[in-house]
Amino acid sequence: MRQSSSGFSSSNVKFQVMWNRLISVVEEQAQALVRTAFSTSVREAGDLSAGTYDQHGNMLAQAVTGTPGHVNAMADAVAHFIRRIGPENFAEGDIYITNDPWEGTGHLHDITIVTPSYHKGSFVGFFACTAHIVDIGGRGFGADANSIYEEGLYIPIMKFADRGVVNKTLVNIIRGNVREPDQLVGDIHALATCNEIGHRRLVEMMIEFKLNDLSGIADYILSNSRRATLERINALTPGQAFGEMRSDGYSHPVDLKVCLSIEKDRILCDFEGTSELDKKGINCPLVYTKAYACYALKCAVAPEIPNNAASLAPFQVIAPENSIVNALHPAPVALRHVIGHMVPDAVYSALDQLLPNMVPAEGAGCLCNFQVSLRPRTDAPAASSTRRAEVLTFNSGGSGARPTLDGMNATAFPSGVMTMPVEATEQVGPVIIWRKELRPDSGGSGKYRGGLGQYMEVGAQEGHEFDIQAMFDRVNYPANGRQGGDMGAATTIALDDGTPMKGKGKQFVPHGRKVMMAFPGGAGYGPVGARQTEEIIRDLAHGYISEEAAREVYGLKAKTIAEVLLRAKNGERF
């Protein structure tokens, strides 16, 4: 066997195998969490993440199952745990916990659990996982709080279990402060179980490869990832560009402004000039801003390099303190995703000037989520079969058109979560989803069309009324096109009798009424005049655009329109 000068040899093959193994270990860790979790946000929608770390807190691997918002945030979290707990206090059987928005993943509704891993009696590294739970007490999940103190129970970094013994005082405090105590404690157990499963697989791997510690494989992963990421960054032309985007905000419109610099060995995002804090809970801790800025850059620059401490490090993010993207304690942050999910559009506005033909136009951005609190009607006697229930749903608008492709219809970007099936949602409580369907003409026109948003209509079963907690943006500021593409359609929300409603906040829906919602479309890319006629015809045949839009926006001749509609009606494939 020839040993080459650069050291590539069977030991490198071994390291590669171990790296793949670690990625599969964290994937198993994440699957265990999905299978045992209680909150719908985790087990139906995948709002979670899982990873493994060396003993210094460097993230070595992260499960691809999960959502980008947790990526960078979790990468940083373990270092906070090391600092707060102190390495001298680590012991086998320990489990650590927090939901600190600034040292975890951005709001109180994310619980992070960190477990130190021991092999043959020695401390070798950590497993960590995060999940979005449905309730943490306070005002409930929504934008209406004025400070973090109203948003629910705050659990500073501490031991959940000390040498295998669970802290019962903490469990009692948690139980006493939340609406669904069994569920939350069940979810904490699920998080602990998932780290435990990761740990068992790691030990098996260490035995198989006769490892006493992770330092060799950590060096290999981190040095390869760093080299590969820097190669990508240094292959770009250095430069600086300014980008911005505007969204609704809560009390005032929000401007995200970013100065993006491609430099040697790093890309820097500076959010100087961004709007100040909002009074209500849509503010974003820097850690979450960083996660989405980094995600946006990584998609464009180094998509296939796995996430770890070294592959994330060259992407750097700074922002003025108490700007809306660097909210400090005690700002309210429950819906930090409303701002965080818009960060990629701001970053891409700058990146488009430095790397043309790479990034998409603006899209719906933040998820179109709402929670309904159903109860027996109060305006008249309700039947005894009526009941109370909390139902949370995640939904998506359209994504922005790409330089060579249309945007994706009703598909989450940048978030990585899924929607819940309507039939499953209607089993959870007496809610009725009357409509969940694509929204024609909502995709911004262009050479490439923006993805379509969707219509949703929500009511309650006979005998119920409800509050809807709206978490929508892009009511006043729809997605902007790129390179001459047009805007996507704006969000609309009203009662079925025409009463207007707000995009954010808790609102009452009387018995017998429905909420009519139209979620935003993605924007177009390139001038509409450059769109291929076959594509316009296809959109018309599929009803992605209306007859009027085909004529007025896309300039299709009346005769062609009539022909196409007839062919579509006659069952022709386009």
Binding site: F8, E28, N409, E423
Partner: protein, 695 residues
């Protein structure tokens, strides 16, 4: 010889159609090239070959069992019928909106797969059921009639009907079927409440559409096949292997062809289960590796693991979420893009990546000398000494080791600064690790520890990789059965007649209705029994009852098996105890104080499995002397070794050979790593075991 039991097993695969004739204990098999335009032709010619080999007339065949990839291929290639969907007003786009997520998060140019039916093929009617089955908006007959006129005008051949919550109340779907039958008696209709009566609209609608889409094609093929076989004198009943590992009648298959998807691999799992029974193995990992993919399946107590949902036609590197979900009873296996033809490259992190892109048979791996320049798994196997270049596929395809070396050096070695042999080592380690990881994740998802398992390896490429895979997975023993090359077709002949009926019915333990459960299970049993009786009117039948349970608030159920007594007399305490026992086994602990709920119910009715006698051990053992030696790279040792080479045909029960060794036969080569000892069992199986663990 009593000709009453002459049976023919036929598996149509992507490249070959395998035909096996079994007459008593005698077995005759052949492989003929699949004839895509008229698949029945290959079957006829294969049948003629095995009949002439055995001297048996087609008239004497008493039963034909058939499995095929045609249904799968029609979905992958989108070559099905012109199909329309009728769905609930407000839900036209369920199959297009999918889960509203991206299956690959870092690809800005991700393309979601087109739905099977474009938007102008999807129609809606005004109607609505509530989640509990109560009618919220009644369906008007006149609306269906008006819709039927539109559908007639558009010339659809097949219609899928999927209405919201039809799994709890199917009356609207049945009304649509009735009106369509009156208005257009020749059109084929598939109802979601019949094809897949389970909660979750995306999966149910998609499954129903898939069924409708392939129905005209499969129905006409099956009718033609029946006629052709009859022309040849084979007038016997024809049965189809379904994806759940059982057998259904030709008429059922024509009605619910979506159940034939992945029937070939299901046959492979049944084959492995049969070998497991013969050798008294309770925990088996079946490993089937061919030219483009590898399939891994867990077989406990001689029964392959089953699932209720799987994904077909993945469009993006076999990535989970990139295909179409099909919810039917299916043998639960993982399929990954790792086969002899899988191609390797070096990525930006200087890592070797293998598959899922495959060289196929044209151009094939570089060593085939048919124009392939990139290194495939077979090239690496050749350079490492695992294959004999002059005796591949019985000598019909000469292999060019120099071409493999060049391909490995150019595409991997030069980039990574290593020689071709090290590159080949890296390549095989990566593909073996990919398969091992898939097996590990699959076992964890099922709460199993693979170190207690025995592997059964079959398919052309599996015996080359089985030994190394066992080393990686900590599996002490692997069996390579005789006839491994036509394993699926043999498996068809081992399968029982069976049918699994499913229904979603939500109930909490705190709201337990024993009578409802009893009636539900009895209804499912009757439904499944009718299917099985249509295939076999006499045999004894067995019913297996299952309920899927979880804590209220969880999203994943675990399957709980009920005894016939528990099903006939459901008691809440029993259900709770069963759930807690199973939950603890999987996840280590119960969660006290939570309500438990039941979501899906299933009854599997089956004829008894052919009971197989446990094989005797070989009485005496003797080492065999090699007929040659060759240089073989041993990955666990990380170096080349001098390996003994023997012919399988010359080995007899009791013979053993110590690794490193190579056992060759026409269809494949078995690699015995230095850590293993191979011995021949009484039925010709080769047993690869850790040295020192053979008695």
């Amino acid at each position: 010889m009593q000709h009453k039991s002459v049976r023919l097993g036929v598996d149509i695969g992507g490249t070959f159609t395998d035909v096996v004739l079994e007459c008593g204990t005698a077995q005759y098999s052949t492989k003929v090239l699949t004839t895509y335009t008229a698949p029945e032709n290959a079957i006829i010619s294969g049948m003629q070959q095995v009949c002439s080999l055995s001297g048996i007339d087609p008239k004497e065949i008493s039963q034909i069992i058939h499995g095929t990839t045609l249904a799968t291929n029609a979905l992958i290639e989108r070559s099905g019928a012109k199909t329309a969907l009728i769905t609930t007003n407000g839900f036209r786009d369920v199959i297009e909106m999918r889960t509203e997520s991206r299956f690959e998060q870092y690809d800005l140019n991700l393309k979601l797969p087109d739905p099977l039916l474009p938007r102008n093929f999807r129609y809606t009617v005004v109607e609505r059921m509530q989640a509990d089955g109560k009618v919220l908006i009644p369906l008007q007959r006149a609306d269906i009639e008006a819709l039927a006129d539109k559908i007639i005008a558009a010339g659809f051949e097949s219609i899928a009907v999927g209405l919201l919550h039809s799994y709890t109340n199917d009356s609207h779907e049945r009304l649509i079927a009735k009106v369509l039958d009156e208005k257009m008696p020749n059109v084929m209709v598939s109802l979601s409440s019949q094809v897949s009566p389970q909660m979750r609209e995306y999966e149910r609608f998609n499954t129903t559409i898939a069924n409708a889409y392939i129905k005209p094609l499969m129905k006409s093929y099956l009718i033609r096949l029946q006629a052709c076989l009859a022309d040849e004198g084979a007038n016997c009943p024809i049965f189809l292997m379904h994806s759940g590992g059982g057998i259904i009648s030709l008429a059922n298959a024509a009605e619910f062809p979506v159940r034939l998807v992945e029937s070939g691999p299901a046959g492979g799992a049944v084959f492995a289960a049969d070998i497991a029974a013969r050798h008294g193995l309770d925990k088996v990992l079946s490993f089937d590796m061919g030219g483009t993919t590898a399939k891994i399946c867990l077989i406990k107590n001689q029964t392959p693991k089953t699932a209720r949902v799987f994904e077909v036609a993945r469009t993006y590197r076999f990535k989970k979420g990139s295909g179409m979900p099909i919810s039917i009873p299916v043998i639960d296996m993982v399929e990954i893009g790792a086969g002899g033809g899988s191609l390797a490259h070096v990525d930006s992190m200087h890592q070797i990546r293998v598959g899922p892109e495959s060289a196929g048979s044209e151009p094939g791996p570089a060593c085939y000398s048919r124009g392939g320049a990139r290194p495939a798994v077979t090239d690496a196997d050749l350079v490492l000494g695992k294959l004999d270049p002059t005796n591949f596929a019985g000598g019909t395809i000469p292999l060019d080791a120099a071409a493999s070396t060049i391909a490995l050096q150019t595409h991997l070695g030069d980039v990574l600064k290593m020689d071709a042999q090290t590159a080949a080592f890296g390549l095989t380690e990566v593909v073996d690790e990919n398969m091992a990881n898939a097996a590990r994740v699959h076992s964890v998802e099922n709460g199993e520890d693979l170190s207690e398992y025995t592997m059964i390896a079959f398919g052309g490429a599996a015996p080359l990789h089985a030994g190394r895979l066992c080393e990686k997975l900590g599996i002490a023993r692997a069996l390579v059965p005789a006839g491994a090359g036509v394993g699926s077709a043999i498996g068809f002949l081992r399968a029982p007649f069976s049918f699994e009926a499913n229904r979603s019915q939500f109930m909490r333990l705190s709201d337990f209705h024993g009578v409802t459960i009893k009636n539900l299970l009895e209804g499912l049993r009757a439904e499944a029994t009718t299917f099985v009786r249509s295939c076999d009117a006499e045999s004894e039948i067995e019913s297996e009852y299952k309920v899927y349970m979880r804590y209220s608030g969880q999203g994943w159920e675990i399957p709980i098996t009920l005894t016939p007594a528990q099903a006939a007399n459901p008691v809440v305490e029993n259900f709770l105890t069963l759930f807690e026992t199973n939950y603890t086994a999987l996840f280590g602990r119960v969660v006290k104080g939570m309500d438990v709920e039941m979501t899906v119910w299933s009854v599997n009715v089956t004829t008894p499995k052919t009971s197989v006698a446990r094989l005797k051990d070989v009485a005496t053992t003797a080492p065999i002397t090699e007929h040659n030696t060759r240089i073989l790279f041993d990955p666990a040792l990380g170096r080349t070794t001098q390996a003994a080479e023997v012919l399988r045909a010359q080995m007899h029960p009791g013979n053993r050979i110590s690794g490193p060794a190579v056992i060759t036969e026409d269809e494949t080569t078995i690699i015995v790593p230095a850590s293993r000892m191979a011995s021949i069992l009484i039925d010709g199986c080769i047993d690869l075991a850790v040295k020192g663990e053979i008695s």
